[in-house]
Every structure is written in structure tokens, then in C-alpha cells.
């Protein structure tokens, strides 16, 4: 497994751990207006997540052998495709958000200004996830073709 793959898996794992934690915090804040006095409510999962990310990055940056290359031609091609997939996804997602809001609220509907930031954050989080998945899928496919 090369560095690009390792980074993609680490990011994906961070998302898998982080999204439920953040979703829990948001739901609690919006539903009850405060965080419960529990392990999850005290923000420990976020500390664990950050520790996981930092340790993961240290492991990735340390080469397994001196012969390990950072990236080759194939990695560049895979990254380029992943960037393009991410770029196209941005517009599809943003268009989908606009259309869904139109359908829910109607053409004369209105949204608060703070909601725009939430839309932006969600879209960019999803794009980052799509980028990592695109990398992993492409490596998996090329591995399948080889065998």
C-alpha cells in the first residue's frame, strides 16, 4: 500500500469515526439545547478522533522501507481522476441542494443566512469523502485488473 492509499484510508476512517460523533453533538445541541453529561457529551470522542488522525499521519509519513516511493505515474493519474470526480460532484451536489430546497420550501421560500454556511460545510465534507472513495475504488479496480 503506497502513501496515497494510506492517506485515503486514514481520511475515510476519520470520517467513519467523526461523522457519527458530530451528528450526535449537533442533534443534541439542536434538540436539547445543550450536550448531555456523558462520555459522548463531554467531547471525548473528538479528542480520540484528533489523536487518531495525528497518530495516523505520523505512521503515514514514516516510510516502511527506504525504497518506498511517494508517488508514481499511476498515482498521479488516479489523483487527477479523483480531483475531477470531486470537482464534478461539487456542482451536482450544489445543484441538488438548490433544487431540493426549492421543492421543500417553494420558489418563494427563504432560508436564514447561517444555513448557507452549513450547506457549504456539508457539501465540502461530502466532496472530501467522495475524493477519498474515488482514490480507493480506483486502486481496487486497478488491482483487480492486474490479477
Amino acid at each position: 500500500m503506497n502513501q496515497t492509499q494510506k492517506r485515503a484510508w486514514l481520511s475515510l476512517a476519520s470520517y467513519v469515526i467523526g461523522i457519527p460523533c458530530l451528528a450526535y453533538i449537533f442533534i443534541m445541541l439542536f434538540t436539547f439545547g445543550r450536550l448531555p453529561d456523558s462520555f459522548l457529551g463531554r467531547g471525548w470522542p473528538l479528542v480520540v478522533l484528533w489523536a487518531f488522525i495525528v497518530i495516523g499521519w505520523i505512521c503515514i509519513l514514516r516510510k516502511q522501507s527506504p525504497a518506498e516511493v511517494d508517488s508514481d505515474e499511476r498515482d498521479k493519474l488516479i489523483k487527477r481522476r479523483a480531483v475531477l470526480i470531486g470537482f464534478v460532484s461539487v456542482w451536482i451536489l450544489l445543484a441538488a441542494v438548490s433544487i431540493i430546497l426549492w421543492l421543500i420550501l417553494g420558489l418563494d421560500g427563504a432560508i436564514p443566512v447561517w444555513f448557507l454556511t452549513i450547506i457549504n460545510l456539508c457539501v465540502f465534507s461530502v466532496i472530501a469523502l467522495i475524493f477519498q472513495i474515488a482514490i480507493i475504488v480506483q486502486y481496487g479496480r486497478s488491482k483487480g485488473e492486474k490479477s
Binding site: F87, G109, P112
Partner: protein
């Protein structure tokens, strides 16, 4: 001039036509119906929207990839990736600047019409296409300068 440069010039040309049409329509709506500047501009831009379809689909129709022919090399791949990253980054910066400006001018709780979100996304798309096209042209121009 290779395929990517032709596409970049094509997209920039179309966006210039769109901008000119938007301005013409804006003045038309201002003069005929006496709308406010912002509303007239939104309507004017909306009348130029359909051209965006050509910006997206035009490259596939007018500059199709030739089957069985490899018309790109290593450098083209790098430039293509750079332009996609530049477009993406430009949109990100644009959206953050617009949203922060709205926070500061309107306040967090103020409601904005839903069609304005579409306009922001559309504006962001136009800016991202410009950034991508300009990055492509500048990268090729720089490479040419280094060669000579």
C-alpha cells in the same frame, strides 16, 4: 494549440458573451420596467443562464476526443489537474467570502430568498470556470516561455 487550450478559449469566449448579454439585459430591464439595479442584474443574468449549457456541453460537442488517438501527455495531465484544483479552490474562497460578507451585512438570522442561493452557486460556477480556463492558458503559456 491543443484541445485543452481550445476548450479554455472557447469557455472564456462564451463567458464574455454571457457577461455582455447580462449587461445588455440589465439595462433593458432598468430602462423598460424601472427595476432596481440588483433585481435587474439578477434578471439580466438569468436571461443569459442558458449559455452555461454550452460552456459545459460545448467542449464535448465541438472538441470531441478522437477515438484511438492519445492527444495528451504527462504535462497535459498535470495542467489539467492544476486547473481543476484552481477552479475548486477559487469556488471555495468565493463562497466563503460571499457568506461572510452576507453575515456581516445582513446578520446571521436574516432570511434570504431561495433563488438567491441558486444565483450564488451560478456565480461561483462562472468564477470557477474562469479560474480553470485562465490557469490552463497561463500554464501552457508559461511552458512555452520556458521552452523558448
Amino acid at each position: 494549440m491543443n484541445r485543452m487550450q481550445k476548450i479554455a478559449w472557447f469557455q472564456l469566449g462564451l463567458l464574455v458573451i454571457m457577461a455582455v448579454l447580462s449587461v445588455i439585459f440589465t439595462f433593458h430591464f432598468r430602462a423598460k420596467y424601472e427595476y432596481g439595479y440588483l433585481y435587474a442584474l439578477e434578471l439580466g443574468a438569468a436571461h443569459a443562464y442558458p449559455l452555461i449549457i454550452l460552456v459545459v456541453l460545448g467542449p464535448l460537442i465541438f472538441f470531441p476526443k478522437k477515438k484511438g488517438k492519445v492527444d495528451y501527455d504527462e504535462r497535459d495531465l498535470i495542467i489539467d489537474r492544476q486547473s481543476a484544483v484552481a477552479s475548486f479552490a477559487t469556488y471555495f474562497v468565493f463562497s466563503v467570502v460571499v457568506f461572510v460578507a452576507m453575515w456581516l451585512t445582513l446578520g446571521m438570522e436574516r432570511l434570504i430568498p431561495i433563488h438567491r442561493l441558486g444565483n450564488i452557486i451560478f456565480g461561483g460556477f462562472v468564477i470557477a470556470v474562469i479560474a480553470g480556463a485562465v490557469t490552463t492558458l497561463v500554464s501552457y503559456g508559461r511552458g512555452k516561455g520556458e521552452k523558448s
